[in-house]
């Protein structure tokens, strides 16, 4: 049996809603992954340090506060700066399609908006983080 994938689920920004993040965390857990849940109000530095220390395969970041165009790119930058951009970084929240397209150009691997089927998210994480695991070991 292979080691389960390890995913950091984080919630950034100043809004206190982490229901979405908790649902994702639970879905990934039920899909057999080890989910490291960090709680509310994480900064990009905290999120990336957590992922490195936890040897995570992926980071899922939920943002509902509207600050997505600043926070997501900051995490991408941090990952590069720390030499950790092999970690699959994906996000979720109420994010307009144009913004999502721009974020993907800037290195966010996928953006899931409310109503995205959980199975789709699980499949994405399994596929992309599985590939990373094959490369990095």
């Amino acid at each position: 049996m292979s080691r389960p994938l390890r995913i950091v689920v984080a919630k950034a920004g100043l809004d206190g809603h982490d229901r979405g993040a908790k649902v994702i965390a639970r879905a990934l857990r039920d899909a057999g992954m080890e989910v490291i849940y960090t709680g509310l109000f994480q900064t990009p530095e905290q999120i990336v340090q957590t992922a490195i220390q936890e040897d995570a395969d992926g980071i899922g970041l939920s943002i509902l506060s509207g600050a997505h165009m600043t926070l997501f790119p900051l995490v991408v930058d941090q990952l590069r700066e720390q030499g950790a951009d092999d970690i699959v970084f994906f996000g979720g929240g109420t994010i307009p399609a144009d913004d999502a397209a721009e974020l993907k150009r800037r290195g966010v691997r996928a953006i899931f908006t409310p109503g995205a089927p959980l199975q789709e998210i699980v499949d994405f994480v399994n596929r992309e983080c599985g590939k990373r695991r094959e490369l990095v070991g």
């Binding site: 049996m1 039920d30 899909a31 989910v35 849940y37 709680g39 905290q46 340090q49 957590t50």
Partner: protein
């Protein structure tokens, strides 16, 4: 120095960890934290949430936090926890804290991994009875009655004290500390007790004994892991009809070169107890 922290869910282990990390950092010590949560036996997934209470230390270079899922390992820790503690120690971290799963079962393995074991108790939960069971008295170097702000906290303290008075100890006598982890109350006293225990371990020569026991324990775990997988394959096979479980066990054991003899059911080797009821000799 490694510190193990066990106790039932919700007693405040993670909050205590955070308070101890803060204390250690204030003393200029680097810290590693390993916290273990259970894996789901069904999906093998896990939700590891102990980090939440340590958020203030996420970007502190003097603190390294690793969450572990138990991955089916019993005993309150994960199979790789001992390795993680060793690595953090070898890396030069001054203090390594280990938070166990805390399902309240026999989490005695923590005592094999850590120099000092803290057993956290929840006031008003009847935990003092738990303490009498399952060898908790054997592993607790320090009892921590957390949530000292709880109305039943003093009763809990009296119960533990009364129980300890019934016992006579060889070597270290467990200390009892009241804390309010959330407010940071009692953490200085807890740290002082941990220090006293460390001094005792070194002065008494028990540190060397513990190191040897920990080594033996880890060797045992590694060997057992391999044997267990072989055994799992062996018991999957078809047994002759009419064979009772005892006879079937002999058939399997014969494949391992194990001779008929020792009783399969019964306690393992006895260890010298740390505490016995007064009046017994």
């Amino acid at each position: 120095m490694s510190i193990g922290l066990t106790g039932p869910p919700g007693v405040g282990k993670s909050t205590l960890s955070a308070a101890l990390v803060r204390k250690a950092r204030a003393l200029g010590k680097s810290v590693g934290v390993v916290s273990v949560d259970p894996s789901s036996p069904f999906s093998h997934g896990a939700l590891l949430g102990d980090r939440i209470r340590l958020a203030e230390h996420f970007t502190d270079e003097g603190v390294f936090i690793r969450s572990m899922a138990s991955r089916g390992h019993l005993g309150g820790v994960a199979g790789a926890t001992a390795d993680a503690v060793l690595l953090m120690d070898a890396f030069g971290l001054d203090v390594v804290l280990v938070e166990t799963v805390g399902v309240g079962q026999s989490e005695i393995e923590i005592a094999e991994l850590a120099h000092t074991t803290l057993v956290a108790l929840q006031p008003g939960s009847g935990d003092s009875i738990q303490v009498l069971k399952a060898g908790i008295m054997e592993i607790a170097d320090i009892f921590v009655v957390n949530k000292a702000d709880h109305p039943m906290a003093n009763q809990m303290r009296r119960e533990i004290r009364a129980m300890m008075e019934m016992l006579s100890f060889t070597g270290w006598v467990p200390e009892l500390v009241m804390t309010q982890a959330l407010a940071g109350d009692g953490i200085d006293a807890l740290w002082a007790a941990i220090d006293r225990h460390a001094i005792y371990l070194n002065a008494s020569g028990e540190m060397a004994v513990r190191r040897r026991a920990a080594f033996a324990h880890q060797v045992r775990q590694l060997a057992l892991g391999r044997l267990e997988r072989r055994l799992d394959r062996a018991v999957c096979g078809d047994f002759a009809a009419g064979l009772d479980p005892y006879a079937a066990a002999e058939v399997v054991l014969a494949q391992f070169g194990e001779e008929r003899g020792e009783d399969a059911v019964g306690p393992g080797p006895a260890r010298p107890p740390r505490a016995i009821v007064k009046g017994l000799t």
